[in-house]
């Protein structure tokens, strides 16, 4: 299989006023064409940092991050990113936000096609009634869906998604998950997804990378034994439950390790 992205002995530290902060340590894995990688690990461990090296915003301190065999030099439209902070443009309306990528030289399309794409995603994301509203009038979950629509609209081959469904209610979340599976089925994308939900990771991913508390190291890489296309019925399968308890255990261990790292705070007088 064709290797799309590679982490090769990657470490990254930040220089902070309090000294060097090791955030990613000796991480190696490959992401093949058509893979769906889910990354899971405790909050603050370095997942976003790991992803932003592949997105092109952060350079590894040591080791190499390759995309299509070449070291990542910077961001590019072939790697779509859905940011944890959404980053919807406040000065553009909902529709203009979705259209943004399609107005750029890199992926310019005729106006009619752009309108059609916008309407398509407005509908899918349940934002049609707000097409001409500014983001200040949207709820957190709506902003998140807007960020997703904007990224999907330019049809990147590789999607980097940083907790893309974190702000959504359970119902919308599962809609969005199914929508993502459908998009993958028709457009054949490669995905790296960061999530805190074990169920989401198993339901969507072909491989799950469990990372340790900071600095993020690879704790275990788990192959998910379900093929695509998938539907919600796999969540009833015994393998699903087994995998879930296994991964939960791993994540819980790391969560405890992280708690132990932190300075104990006493609230007793």
């Amino acid at each position: 299989m064709n290797k799309r992205a590679q982490f090769d002995k990657v470490s990254l530290s930040f220089e902070t006023p309090k000294g060097r902060l090791k955030v990613v340590e000796d991480v190696s894995y490959d992401i093949n064409d058509g893979d769906f990688i889910a990354v899971i690990g405790p909050s603050g461990c370095g997942k976003t940092t790991m992803m932003s090296m592949l997105a092109g915003f952060q350079k590894p301190t040591t080791g190499k991050v390759l995309f299509d065999g070449r070291p990542v030099a910077g961001p590019g439209p072939e790697r779509g990113v859905i940011f944890q902070e959404y980053g919807v443009f406040p000065w553009l309306t909902v529709k203009q936000n979705i259209a943004f990528g399609l107005t750029l030289n890199a992926n310019r399309v005729p106006t009619a096609e752009r309108d059609a794409t916008c309407d398509h995603y407005l509908g899918l994301m349940g934002l049609s009634d707000f097409a001409n509203s500014y983001p200040k009038h949207l709820s957190g979950g709506m902003r998140q869906r807007l960020a997703i629509a904007r990224a999907y609209a330019v049809k990147p081959q590789f999607l980097l998604m940083d907790e893309p469904f974190g702000a959504l209610d359970a119902q919308t979340r599962s809609n969005m998950q199914n929508l993502l599976l459908k998009v993958l089925e028709t457009e054949g994308k490669t995905v790296m997804l960061i999530t805190h939900s074990v169920e989401e990771a198993i339901y969507l991913a072909s491989r799950i990378v469990v990372v340790t508390a900071r600095p993020a190291r690879i704790k275990q890489i788990i192959d998910v034994p379900f093929g695509y296309p998938r539907d919600e019925s796999i969540q009833e399968r015994p393998e699903f439950a087994e995998l879930r308890s296994h991964i939960r255990q791993l994540v819980m261990d790391e969560y405890r390790a992280q708690q132990a790292q932190m300075r104990p705070v006493s609230f007793s007088e």
Binding site: G74, E85, F89, P90, F100, L104, A151
Partner: protein, 256 residues
């Protein structure tokens, strides 16, 4: 106008009535020599006299034009300079002390030098107003620009924007609010500097009018001049605020 609009208008008018009442009260209290405080109605009468017989409108026009030109030129230069300083940290480290040095100098202290280098004509007054507008505007610009978060630029990059597109479609919209604020601040500062700039042998203008009146101790004329300056500055600010509200409908503001 709807009910809320009327109420807001009333609320804005109320302090003016209060100020006029206080003005009369001070006059009648007997603490101050009445000849030193012309009454509001006397000032109003003087206003109409100046307006109809002394060409007050010419003074208003002369001053407004000076302020307008000074601010326009000052902001025209302050926007790119402030932008560069806000955007490139080395530029800021390099120029910041210099800017703060010049900003601290009161324009009135520069008048003798301005006269030496630029003469006593219109140009000299413009230079003073330009100076005041530029340094107040440039600070607002670069403080604002340096606070633009990189997130939106990153988003645009991942969607495929090139440098020119990032500038046109992301940085400019994010800069507009700061340009408008710089404009408002500069306008305020320029009106405040007007009287000083008209110290330079001005024939007409509200500042010149005030200074001539002070030579002859015409207190009512001084009051008219001061109130005119305040009112015109207020009107310009209101217009600018309306424009701002129009251009920045997308902004999430705390005040309703």
């Amino acid at each position: 106008m709807n009910g809320a609009g009327v109420r807001r208008f009333g609320l804005g008018l109320l302090p003016w009535f209060g100020a006029i009442l206080l003005w009369y009260a001070v006059r009648w209290s007997g603490f101050v020599n009445v000849s030193l405080i012309p009454a509001p109605h006397q000032v109003a009468a003087k206003f109409f006299e100046l307006l109809t017989r002394e060409g007050l409108l010419i003074d208003i026009f002369a001053s407004t034009r000076r302020v307008f030109l000074g601010v326009a030129l000052g902001i025209l230069v302050a926007v790119p300079v402030g932008f560069l300083l806000g955007w490139y940290r080395p530029a800021r480290t390099f120029a910041d002390p210099m800017i703060n040095f010049f900003r601290a100098l009161p324009p009135i202290a520069l008048i003798p030098l301005v006269i030496v280098y630029f003469g006593v004509d219109e140009l000299a007054k413009l230079v003073i107003l330009f100076y005041a507008s530029f340094f107040s505007g440039v600070i607002v610009m670069y403080e604002g620009v340096s606070q633009i978060t990189p997130l939106y630029i990153r988003v645009a990059q991942t969607l495929g924007a090139n440098q020119a597109e990032i500038f046109r479609k992301v940085i400019i919209p994010l800069t507009v609010p700061h340009i408008l604020t710089a404009l408002r601040v500069a306008l305020g500062v320029a009106w405040a500097t007007l009287v000083a700039s008209e110290l330079i042998a001005a024939q007409r203008g509200l500042g010149a009018m005030i200074q001539n009146a002070s030579t002859y101790f015409l207190l009512d004329v001084i009051y008219v001049g001061i109130i005119c300056i305040g009112l015109i500055a207020l009107i310009m600010d209101l217009i600018l605020r309306k424009i701002t509200a129009r251009l920045l409908v997308w902004q999430d503001r705390a005040i309703a």
